[in-house]
Symmetry: C2
């Protein structure tokens, strides 16, 4: 099952067989036919290890995640693996369990395994920086979803500001004024970006809205706790920084006997599967997951093809998915109406990009 065997069976040299199979150089038509027939008959499969050793490319991409159990990531992993497999690449998966130290080890291991490139969703904006920067110096690396400080590597993510603007616009249009933001103060860049976008846009709703911010983490438990903190202020809308928070808020509001959306609207971010399945369905910002994956692999391929132009930060426009949790009145069930917002259209900003 090696080139030698195919060479013997087809009566020519290993070099010729290699050329036929790789198509690197023109080869006589009948020779090529004989070789292909022999390879087929013997069921020859090239040895990736040998190829990697000789050619210094493994056909492998490392995918480093903070938490595969975060319900937003499975869909992203799915799209990424499909896109990469379609190009003949395999995906080495590493779940670092939200620990930047483990993350650094995994990145190191993947580099030692000679991945051709890395896709990284950094666990921590600050503490992931060094490991990511070091890795980016060795192989093409694209950051996804979260950022990692300016100038570290190419990155692809949703436009968090645009998403938050969609939410605030929707709430304004449906007459909500006493709005609170339930966010996260963690070190993931998404937390800061969404919070900043809220603060920037909320002033248009109500004088005090920009200041009505409660910060915890991206969890259901925090969503529940946040309701207890802000409930006595009688908000008419809770803008949650992601869907998990929204799910928790919804739970707690139900327990308190609040009417959603009658008394208070609740919105999320990401559009994880649970957002559609909660009762009431959660109005949220849908990340264009397939486009994110496509954009990331496109960027990776450019780099692998030798493009060493300036770093890029691609931001994709999200959709607003309106469901019952923010309806003005009771609405028929369904997957909601999507605010057409040029979904998935890419905006590319130079690095360092200015957050307006």
């Amino acid at each position: 099952m090696t080139l030698r065997d195919v060479a013997r069976a087809s009566g020519c040299s290993v070099a010729t067989v290699s050329r036929v199979l790789a198509g690197t150089r023109p080869v006589g038509a009948d020779t090529a036919r004989r070789v292909r027939a022999a390879a087929e008959k013997l069921g020859y499969r090239p040895n990736h290890a040998a190829r990697a050793l000789r050619g210094r490319a493994t056909g492998t991409v490392g995918l480093v995640l903070p938490q595969i159990t975060n319900p937003f990531y499975p869909a992203l992993v799915r799209e990424l693996t499909h896109a990469l497999h379609a190009e003949g690449r395999a995906v080495l998966l590493a779940d670092c369990d939200d620990d930047p130290v483990a993350e650094a080890e995994y990145i190191d291991d993947l580099l030692a395994r000679r991945v051709d490139a890395l896709l990284v969703i950094p666990a921590d904006e600050r503490r992931s920086r060094d490991a990511v920067a070091a890795a980016a110096a060795q192989v093409p690396l694209v950051l996804m979803d979260r950022d990692c400080g300016p100038g570290v590597a190419d990155s692809v993510a949703v436009d968090n500001s645009a998403g938050m603007a969609l939410v605030l616009g929707h709430l304004a249009a449906t007459g909500r004024r006493r709005v609170w933001f339930v966010g996260a103060d963690g070190t993931a860049s998404t937390a800061a970006e969404r919070r900043a976008a809220y603060a920037a846009g909320a002033a248009a709703l109500d004088e005090g809205a920009a200041g009505r911010i409660a910060l915890g983490d991206f969890s259901v438990a925090w969503g529940r706790a946040a309701v207890d903190l802000v409930w006595e202020a009688r908000p008419d809308a809770l803008v949650c920084a992601n869907d998990l928070i929204a799910v928790g808020a919804l739970q707690r509001l139900r327990e308190l006997g609040a009417d959603v959306p009658g008394d208070v609207a609740v919105t999320g971010f990401d559009d994880i599967p649970m957002a559609a399945l909660a009762a009431p369905g959660i109005t949220t910002v849908r990340q264009p997951v397939p486009e994110l994956a496509a954009e990331a692999t496109r960027l990776l391929n450019h780099r692998l093809a030798g493009d060493d132009g300036p770093q890029r930060a691609v931001r994709l426009a999200p959709d607003l998915v309106v469901r019952e949790s923010s309806a003005p009145r009771s609405t028929a069930r369904g997957d909601g109406q999507h605010a057409r917002a040029a979904s998935g259209r890419a905006t590319e900003v130079p690095v360092p990009r200015q957050v307006p």
Copy 2:
């Protein structure tokens, strides 16, 4: 950054360096120290490709999934990758999108990449069989979660019969009699096992219960549809074959104005995150995910160590997690009480195993 460099820097031969670093043969104490120092200083990392080529082991395991977006799998993937990484192995991930043809291709690709072993959750009990059997002939292979016909490979899964028995026992104890099973007729082995276990155990509840079976697929949509099918029969409990079905059923029941658990109890299977977060929380059978992963890697390691004993089918005992959806009366919120059911204790049955 190769052995040659380390050899030069430490003033000895590549052979010696290799021996020091691999620890395959005793080496003089001071030589070893010099070598280690040099390796450290130069930041030497062994080249996995070369090692794989020479030693015919890549330190890599392939993980083939039917659907990473199925909410039960992320937790399993997490545990598996952690366990394997802890042993110094890397994980090649393949998501075949529930398509046995794609699955066969992925398996083929992983074999061509010379994975040391495979972990497979087969997409289809029948149509995955050939590809899995062929792969199992080449490398150690452990089936997980779902089976693939008798005698194909080692397998690790939850004891579906025991889980269903826990559910039925709980419903019996809380006085439910007009029970319906909402299951799946798909080709995943779990569908058949759970259905058979229900049919076997339901007779103890009520004369007709064993026959009250509605079959669709493992989806939220089917759960909703099933309620419309069985609702006029006024069931007092719906035993759903997995949590997604239960979520759908719960949604539809709420829309119909039914009181859960007052009018009707609903139970699920798997204990996906959504089960705890639904309102009311869903009583379900918790799969011992960490134990499943540990058992699978243990089996794999045995095979990799050369054990060629008879095939094994490990079945782990699940827990019952009682939540509000099956409470006799209204209950305080919480994560439910767990019926202690010797969770995770392994039962090993010879293959082919008899389903009683």
